[in-house]
Structure formats: structure tokens, C-alpha cells
């Protein structure tokens, strides 16, 4: 098993609020890692730190062994140029919680934008691929619609297709289902499940404990910016070792 993502000693503060406090964790290639934890515990911040949308104060992140957003120079970590960071990001898919589609572009334009611009895929080829992807997420008939003409679950699936269009080696999901009603949650989870089956490396911040148990290979529970407990879902979610984890899971039920 190879390590896909490695987070070491991640620290991030907003003023005096230490949102990430020496976070260490790894995600294996080809596996689904679920991050759970109470609201405000730093899950989104951690996820955003992985593709350098949120620069760390100290610590570092590697994806398949490559430092993200920084480089090693004379024993110190120096921030990369904006351009280099953007290039790294184009290999990491990110699906936001909500409202992240470009409303003035049609569904297919949303999906092909990044491959055409960052990977110089010819437009016709990108469109053909986008159609495949959209078919895969069940939106073959919506390619010319605009995002606001779609339901919430459909929008979320477009967002996933957009992230997939870059053929990323890693996809980060930030609460992909929190804005959706239960029926739509199903639509999105099906897509993620299919991706998992195909062996895509994914890190998913989620409140869906059932989903985490079913799909995740590895669960990380964080609280107040610290990793409290991590391990296989059967352990963390069914027989947690820490009181804090038990308390959190108890509240959810």
C-alpha cells in the first residue's frame, strides 16, 4: 500500500484561534478516508490545507511524496509561486460543500473549463470526455443546462464531474451531502461509491456516519484541531476507544 497523502505537524491559527493543532494523518492510495468531527473542529480547514487553499503556519502536506504549496530550500519550507501551486492543484480534485459551480457557464462548459485551460486538452476531446463523465453521474440530458436550472443533487454531481474531468490522482470532498435532502444524498453517495470501487483515492469530510461506515477504508476523528482517533471504520465508528469520540457519535444517533 502506498501513501497518497501525508499531513505532518499541520498548524493553522486565525489570530489566537488555533484551528489546526499539530495534525498528523495519512491517507492510502486507492482508499477512501473519511474525516469526521464536530462543527468548527477544523475539518474544512484541514481539507483546504491539503491543496494549499489555506496555507499552513507550520507543518507540511505531501501528495504522492510531492510537497504541496511549498518547497524545501536550505532546510526551510518556502512557499511556491502562485503558478506552481495552481499547477499542483490541477492534479487534486476539490468538491466544495455548495454553490461552487460557475453559474454563467453551462454544465458542459463548467466541466471542460479546467482540462482545456490547464491541460490543453483539445476542446472536442474535452467535450466528448465531459459527456462520458456526465453520463456516468446520470446527467447526460443536462449538459447544456445552466447550474441554477438544476436541483441541488444534480448540481453536486456536476461539481463532482468537474473535479473528475482533470483526472486527478486525489479527490477531496467537503461535506458533499450536507446541503442535500436525504433522497439527493443517495444520488451523490452512489457516485462516490462508484468512484471508490474504481480505486480513486478520496478524502471525504462528512457527517454521514452510515456512509463513512459503508464506504470508508479509514476514518479520522478530529476535535478542536487535533486528531483524537483514527483507524478502520469498524473500530472508530463502532467501538471507539476515546470518550470524546463516543460522546460525539452518541449525539449523532
Amino acid at each position: 500500500m502506498t501513501v497518497a497523502v501525508n499531513v505532518r505537524g499541520a498548524v493553522k491559527s486565525y489570530g489566537t484561534n488555533r484551528v489546526l493543532d499539530e495534525v498528523d494523518f495519512t491517507a492510502q492510495a486507492g482508499q477512501v478516508t473519511a474525516i469526521i468531527g464536530p462543527s468548527g473542529s477544523g475539518k474544512s480547514t484541514l481539507l483546504r490545507a491539503i491543496n494549499h487553499l489555506e496555507p499552513l503556519d507550520s507543518g507540511y502536506v505531501t501528495v504522492r511524496g510531492e510537497l504541496i504549496g511549498v518547497r524545501l530550500h536550505k532546510g526551510r519550507l518556502r512557499e511556491l509561486s502562485e503558478r506552481a501551486i495552481l499547477r499542483q492543484r490541477s492534479r487534486i480534485g476539490f468538491v466544495f460543500q455548495s454553490l461552487n459551480l460557475f453559474p454563467h457557464l453551462s454544465v458542459v462548459e463548467n466541466v471542460i473549463e479546467a482540462p482545456v485551460v490547464t491541460q490543453r486538452v483539445p476542446k472536442q476531446q474535452a467535450i466528448a470526455r465531459a459527456k462520458d463523465l456526465l453520463t456516468k453521474v446520470g446527467l447526460a440530458d443536462k449538459i447544456d443546462a445552466y447550474p441554477r436550472q438544476l436541483s441541488g443533487g444534480q448540481q453536486q454531481r456536476v461539481a463532482i464531474a468537474r473535479a473528475l474531468a482533470l483526472e486527478p490522482e486525489l479527490i477531496l470532498f467537503d461535506e458533499p451531502t450536507s446541503a442535500l435532502d436525504p433522497e439527493l444524498v443517495g444520488e451523490v453517495l452512489t457516485v462516490i461509491r462508484d468512484l471508490a470501487a474504481a480505486g480513486t483515492t478520496m478524502i471525504v469530510v462528512t457527517h454521514e456516519i452510515g456512509f463513512a461506515r459503508e464506504v470508508a477504508d479509514h476514518v479520522v476523528f478530529i476535535d478542536a484541531g487535533r486528531v483524537v482517533e483514527q483507524g478502520p471504520p469498524d473500530q472508530v465508528l463502532v467501538a471507539p476507544r476515546h470518550d470524546r469520540t463516543r460522546e460525539f457519535l452518541g449525539k449523532l444517533v
Binding site: L86, S90, F96, F102, Q149
Partner: protein, 332 residues
């Protein structure tokens, strides 16, 4: 009847008489549907709308009558002046000045807005100072200053500040009055356009930039493809306002010895002083024509840039007219 209240009471009171009777005899409203003569709901009538429309139309007719029959307006003089070459020349100058300074002003405004929004404190404060300065200087003083820059600098040069210069121009050769006018209007316009563009950009949700940068889109592309098209939607109405102001504001260029539409009208009125009112009407009607054209362009631009922002784009007036004719059976 006692247990179930009708779901839409207003609808029931609108029902035709015979149906109402049968509804009263019915045990419940559940089987009402079978007893209706027609299922169509009769819409509420609005008699006061008709009254209000009639009043407004009468007032309009009176205004039209007052305008056309009062000889103070000297409509024959109006007709003479309306298409006089001197007036048309002024009109063309107005159009050129407005067009050029609208374009240069907008380009400058975009650059200034991006500077103000950048994280570079030098760019930020330079843009801020520019906007502050050019919104403070009266346009007329700016134009007079530029027109007479030769009194201060006989030559203008491009080169290193305080160092050698590469090219030198005689200010008088370079700056014709026409260019002074375009330059002055554009410098002024850019300051206002900058704020309009900035307001458009900050009206686009921050998450759009974040999403674009998560996809790895280059910075320039993020702005060109993602932010500006969405900002444009907010920019258009405000900039159209600004343009209409500019259209009429160009009249101050008389200070640099150019006469545009209003200047010509003023100048001719001061010579043909018995015809001040018809001449002012000539200017007014031309401005109305130009403003109307701008409003039409604005309408279609807004429609174009509302793609995706509205679930359904509203029909154009033309389409609306056609569909109305179709529903009344006039056109098919």
C-alpha cells in the same frame, strides 16, 4: 361541509351561480370537479387599472396637445435646425467623444479596479489616489488644464523619470483639442468606471475565485472567464447610467474650443436668439434619441449576461409581442 373548509375560498366565491348552488348541496367539495361547467378559473377583474390607464392617457394627450399647439416651441424652426449640418456635426462629435471615452474609460477603469483589489499595497494606493484625485477635479478644470498643458510643458517626453528621455513630442502637435477632450473625458471616466467595475467584482461571491483556483485555472483566466462575466451583470446598469451622464457631460468640451451637440445648440441659440427654445428642443430630442438607443443596447446586454443567473431568460419585447398576438389569435 362542516369538517372540510374549501381549499381556495376565493375561488369558490368566483364560481358561476349554478355551480355555487350545487356546491352548497354537495356533502363535501371533493366531488366539486364533476359539477363544474368548466374547470377554468375566472381571473379577478381589475376595474381600477382601467380607470388609472384612462386618466394617464388623457393626461398624456393633453401634454402632447400643449407641446404641439403652443407656438413658443416654434416647431418649424425645430424642423429647420434638427438636421442642419452644423447640428449633425455636433451630434457626431458627441457620439465620437462619448464612444471613445467610454471605451478608454472602461479599459482604464478595469485596470484601476483590479489594482484596487490587488494585494499589492503600492498598486492599491496608487489606484485609490487616482480615483480620489480624478473624482475631485472638476472635469472642466481638467480639460482646461490639459488644453493648455503647452503653457506648462512645451514638450512631452517618454523616458526614465529624472533620467534620459527616449522620445520627445511637442505638446501642441501631440495634443489636438480633440485629443485633449478624449483624454480628459477618459481620465475622468476611468475614475468612475473603476468604482463601478470594482462594485461588480466584489458582488461576485468569493467562492467563485476559490473554486477556480482549486481547479488550477491561471490567475488571469480566473478573472477573465469566471469573475468578469459575472461581474458584468452588476456593472451594466450602473455603467449605462454613467454613459448617459457622459453623453450629456461631453458638453463641457466647449472649454477646449470644441462644440458638440449641446455646444452647437448653445452657440446657435446665442446668435439666433429668437429661437432659443426650438434649439434647446433640438438638443433635447437628440439626447432622447441617443439615450433610447443606449437603453435598448443595455437591455440586450443585460439579457445576454443574465445567462445562468436567471432560471429562465425573460423574452424580448419583440418575442413578448409575438406571443401575445399569437394567444389572441392575430398572428399564427
Amino acid at each position: 361541509m362542516t369538517s372540510s373548509s374549501p381549499p381556495k375560498p376565493s375561488q369558490e366565491t368566483e364560481l358561476p351561480q349554478p355551480v355555487k348552488e350545487s356546491a352548497e348541496t354537495a356533502e363535501t367539495t371533493d366531488d366539486l370537479v364533476d359539477k363544474l361547467e368548466s374547470r377554468r378559473v375566472v381571473p379577478l377583474r381589475h376595474p381600477w387599472r382601467w380607470v388609472a390607464s384612462a386618466v394617464v392617457l388623457v393626461l398624456l394627450a393633453q401634454a402632447a396637445h400643449a407641446l404641439t399647439t403652443n407656438d413658443a416651441f416654434q416647431w418649424d424652426a425645430f424642423g429647420y435646425w434638427f438636421t442642419r449640418p452644423v447640428v449633425v456635426e455636433g451630434l457626431l462629435l458627441t457620439l465620437q467623444l462619448t464612444g471613445l471615452s467610454a471605451v478608454f474609460g472602461l479599459l482604464g477603469g478595469i485596470v484601476l479596479a483590479l489594482m484596487r483589489l490587488s494585494r499589492n499595497p503600492v498598486l492599491q494606493s496608487v489606484a485609490w489616489a487616482y480615483i480620489w484625485l480624478f473624482r475631485s477635479i472638476p472635469l472642466i478644470v481638467l480639460l482646461l488644464f490639459l488644453a493648455n498643458i503647452t503653457a506648462l510643458y512645451a514638450t512631452l517626453s517618454l523616458g526614465v523619470p529624472f533620467g534620459p528621455s527616449f522620445v520627445e513630442f511637442s505638446a501642441n502637435d501631440l495634443l489636438s483639442f480633440y485629443m485633449v477632450a478624449v483624454l480628459g473625458l477618459s481620465l475622468n471616466e476611468a475614475a468612475y468606471a473603476a468604482e463601478i467595475v470594482r462594485s461588480g467584482i466584489i458582488s461576485v461571491d468569493q467562492s467563485q475565485l476559490e473554486a477556480a483556483s482549486a481547479l488550477g485555472l491561471p490567475k488571469g483566466r480566473q478573472y477573465r472567464r469566471i469573475i468578469l462575466p459575472q461581474a458584468t451583470r452588476a456593472i451594466i446598469p450602473a455603467y449605462a447610467n454613467q454613459l448617459i451622464g457622459l453623453l450629456k457631460g461631453t458638453s463641457v468640451v466647449y472649454i477646449t474650443s470644441l462644440l458638440e451637440l449641446f455646444g452647437v445648440v448653445q452657440s446657435q441659440a446665442s446668435i439666433n436668439s429668437g429661437q432659443i427654445i426650438p434649439l434647446l428642443m433640438v438638443g433635447t430630442i437628440w439626447y432622447i434619441v441617443l439615450t433610447s438607443l443606449l437603453s435598448i443596447v443595455q437591455y440586450y446586454l443585460e439579457r445576454y449576461f443574465s445567462r445562468g443567473a436567471l432560471r429562465t431568460v425573460p423574452p424580448t419585447p419583440f418575442q413578448r409581442l409575438r406571443s401575445r398576438l399569437r394567444t389572441t389569435g392575430v398572428a399564427r
